[in-house]
Amino acid sequence: MSAAEDVVTEGQAVEAVPKRVMTLGTGTSLVVLAALVILPVFVKNFIIFQMTMLLIYGLAVLALNILTGGSGQFSLGQSAFYAIGAYTTAVLMEQFNVNYALTLPIAGVVCFGFGYLFGQPALRLSGVYLALATFALATALPQLLKLGYFEGWTGGVQGLVVTKPDAPFGLPISQDLWLYYFSLAITIAIYVASVNLLRSRSGRAFMAIRDNEIAASAMGVDVALYKTLAFGVSAGITGVAGGLGAIAVQFVAPDGYTITLAISLFLGMVVGGVGWLPGSIVGAAFIIFVPNIAEGISKGLSGAVFGVLLFLVIYLVPHGARDILRLVERRRT
């Protein structure tokens, strides 16, 4: 009846991870880091490229994880932010000759702006309605990119070819390997910053809003501000991922950033574990490799095989990769 009574009955959109277990232990982190640093030296260029994409999608999934796992807001529109980031980088590099490394922070800031602005109308929506609004964004953007009005910059339907950068300082490594390490450095920096953010006052405000908006507001949390900030941060990180993706793939075109990408990222987040940041990379691995595995099992029925694999994941490890880690830990003790 009264607003105060509504507070407790309000449904919870996202079941969250307690903050203490949000990250990996120091030991596990070091092992993962060592693997990520050493492994590419011994593999073929194509695998290096796939590992680079793994990091890039990992970043995009992480960004969604901050938004959904952190602040409890759904988004099926991450492909739009990814596209804006990719195009920012591509246009700056190819039309304005800006150094590739410089384009990434610009892509991040531009996407932060877009995300923050999009977060304003999204404030009035929650749950499935918000998901629908972001879905609309994802559907609309590829067509906007094709518009003749921007064609001089974006290349219209044709897209833009992006030049792959050489390793700097005359380092004797391939372009692919350099791009991998470059992406790795950015991924680690963003991961650490994200963990810091979620552990801080701002992150607690996100999670307080996720758990109970009215109580958060009574504690002095500006719900509208932090909800839009979460959108901004998520979009900004997605934009950096998109920029890196454009460099790695060496090509941007409107049809590379359809709703399918947004759904894949959403899938990656669920498979990795909603709210569990290290799971982002596992989720990214799922969306990159599992379709290939499915195709390997049956060419004609790859979609069905993928579906079955997805069902298995949901059924066996409903909290995603976090469940697997928990099982391993239990086995050990």
Partner: protein
């Protein structure tokens, strides 16, 4: 009952009316809260207690009248800017952040007392670390005060109801409020727990120099710890005075206590 100079008035409710459609939920209610007082707000169901409470926490906008905190109107403030002027609250059926630990719940309570921005937080700059350290110290002190140290790192959703209520109190205390608004704190507690709660509320008032507004159904609790009682019925103030005075008021007996309780 107190020699109440106006200087001592912390919160003044002035002629507040709330109208929902055609229903008058509150009709010209006025009373003052003095520093250090425990004020009990009583009344039968639908009397307007919760409506008044929600006006104080800015969830409802009064149709007329004013609410003054230390002389300044709170009605121009959005709900999230109430905590910063020293008004803290708990909720009727507990509204914690269920997925956060006890400690994090209480840390969120300190939100209005601290500041930060997302960039400094992401980089964990020195001043952010200093601010976190002082928040943690404060939180530890409150957890110890309310005997919650053992569950500090436990996720709130798994705790017994009584403990959750204490966590909510701790969260409200983290902002060092001048006024603590308690919405039916005795709800869902057994006889013994209510007794302990009464003691705790009085202890908080004395130790931490707070003023308490207690909206409560449990007459035993109100009558035993309140210094001053305001009784509402059908949105109007029925009586005001010491617990004994209000308890003896014939209108109050008729409206609320009835023949069963007395």
């Amino acid at each position: 009952m107190r020699a109440s100079a106006t200087v001592n008035i912390l919160l003044a409710v002035r002629d507040v009316s709330v109208v929902f459609g055609g229903i008058i939920a509150l009709n010209g209610v006025s009373f003052d809260m003095h520093k250090g007082q425990i004020l009990g707000l009583i009344g039968p169901n639908g009397a307007g207690k919760t409506t008044l409470f929600n006006c104080l926490s800015r969830l409802y906008q009064p149709s007329s009248g004013d609410i003054l905190m230390e002389g300044a109107s709170i009605l121009t403030r959005p709900p999230h800017r109430i905590a910063e002027i020293g008004i803290g609250r708990t909720f009727q059926n507990v509204a914690l952040f269920p997925n956060l630990s006890v400690m994090d719940n209480v840390r969120v309570g300190a939100h209005s007392k601290t500041s930060s921005d997302i960039i400094s937080d992401s980089l964990r700059l020195a001043w952010v670390r200093r601010s976190e350290t002082s928040v943690n110290k404060k939180v530890q002190e409150i957890l110890a005060y309310l005997d919650l140290e053992e569950v500090a790192h436990t996720t709130v959703s798994g705790l017994p109801f009584g403990t959750q209520k204490r966590v909510e109190l701790a969260r409200a205390l983290a902002a060092d409020p001048k006024i603590l608004l308690l919405d039916e704190p005795a709800g869902g507690l057994n006889h013994e727990e209510v007794y302990v709660l009464g003691d705790l509320i009085r202890r908080i008032r004395d130790d931490r120099h707070m003023t308490v507004l207690l909206v409560e159904h449990h007459m035993g609790l109100v009558m035993s710890i309140a210094d001053h009682v305001v009784a509402l019925n059908f949105g109007k103030k029925l009586a005001e005075g010491t617990p004994a005075q209000v308890q003896a008021d014939p209108d109050v007996i008729k409206a609320y206590l009835g023949s069963k309780d007395q």
